[in-house]
Symmetry: C2
């Protein structure tokens, strides 16, 4: 995660288009985020997100000029797949990936905002629950929701998580939070832009898994 | 799963050595077993097992003559890895894979033996729980055990599961069970032989995840 903080997302251009290549490069540092959570229980989540990235990269690599921006991928796939779209291809992969990104964004933001369970100030359950409610719950059936609640018990302590964020160094909590704050600027703007793009393209689906 | 039943494991030779190539071929039909369970909740389990198979195959492909039998893989890796062994390489992958195979074996055996919860004769929870207790529980910490209990709610009805086993055809329950019985003969013998090999080689570990 020291890593994560050192791989800033790019600042968005005025037209808020997200370029595919730098986006893929920046998100490729995120799966290790789930190792910071410290339990093998999170391995399937890491795998799901890595799978999304691999799928988007495969489409991009098939024609980098044609798929220069994420927007171009959505447009081309809409054309290509007809009625199957948007539950298909890189459009589907990015639809789910953005939810994982939103989860990470809200969790980190909630931590830097100092949101806490005053009775358990060293737990991050309240922050993870908030992130889950905003980013994912509505896309999960009751069973996966139940699994999430159980998985929360594997979430690390706040202090250990912050230490993991600044892996390999002795960083003070406040310094670490400051890095996260900086990271969140372009990251949040990018995630917002992807959500906006899905809204405008009418490409979001709300089926549950 | 019609597939599964049609890809019998080989009969063991007198020396009970398991040949790597036919073993890999036969187990490669097993991951779809988890699709028969009918819920995306089982996707991470399928992925874990597929990962084991991929890892063993990579070792085999690196030198098919040297790794002709599973036994030869264990011996060569013990030599190669020293103190790291057996928590490494194809030895580790097969250690976990055999537990998934044992789970499938006990579940199918319990079904053909007609074991049932008399109050819920169309549920397979009692069979899956038995398989879990024998094959996996001791290797799982309390959290994964809890997740297993929750995941059980996603297990299909007995009748749907048997239908899935004979996918694409109208087969009577008794005919389907008969096929499973036949499949289990060589399958069980192979799984037993792999367990015996791990015992003799002192290659089994009982850490929990
Ligand atoms: C023996 C023991 C038995 C125990 C068994 C228990 C198994 C439990 C399994 C739990 C599910 C793991 C999470 C994965 C969930 C996934 O099902 C969903 C949908 O996944 C999408 O599905 C699409 C098709 O509909 C495509 O395949 C997408 O793939 S595609 O690339 O092919 O298009 C794919 O991402 N992703 C999600 O919900 C995304 C999840 C992001 C999570 C973000 C962080 C949460 C962190 C929590 C921290 C406290
Ligand atoms: C947002 C929502 C959040 C929800 C999050 C919930 C996530 C829940 C995750 C549950 C775990 C999924 C199952 C996977 C468990 C795995 O952790 C274990 C050990 O896995 C092994 O670990 C080794 C290192 O120690 C190597 O990496 C092995 O890999 S290596 O190849 O690299 O050497 C690997 O197989 N395998 C297992 O326990 C094997 C499991 C077999 C299961 C058999 C059938 C059970 C069927 C149940 C039917 C009712």
């Amino acid at each position: 995660m020291a890593l994560l903080m050192e791989h800033q997302f790019r600042q968005l251009p005025a037209d808020r288009q997200v370029e595919t290549r730098p986006f893929l490069e920046a998100v490729s540092y995120l799966p290790p985020f789930f190792d910071c959570l410290g339990s093998t229980v999170f391995a399937p989540i890491k795998a799901d997100i890595s799978g999304n990235i691999t799928k988007i990269r495969a489409v991009y690599d098939s024609n980098p000029a044609r798929f220069k921006t994420l927007q171009q991928i959505l447009e081309a796939e809409k054309e290509m797949y007809g009625a199957e779209w948007p539950k298909v291809g890189a459009t589907l992969a990015l639809m789910w990936l953005k939810r994982g990104l939103r989860f990470i964004q809200v969790l980190l933001q909630s931590l830097v905002d100092g949101e806490k369970d005053e009775n358990n100030p060293n737990l991050i359950r309240v922050n993870a629950t908030k992130a889950y409610e905003i980013a994912l719950r509505r896309y999960h059936g009751w069973l996966v929701q139940k699994l999430f609640k159980a998985a929360l018990f594997a979430a690390p302590y706040r202090s250990d998580f912050l230490k993991a964020l600044s892996k390999g160094r002795e960083v003070k909590e406040e310094e670490c939070l400051e890095k996260v704050r900086k990271f969140l600027i372009n990251f949040s703007a990018t995630v917002d832009a992807v959500y906006e793009m899905y809204n405008k393209a009418n490409a979001d689906l709300d089926y549950t898994v």
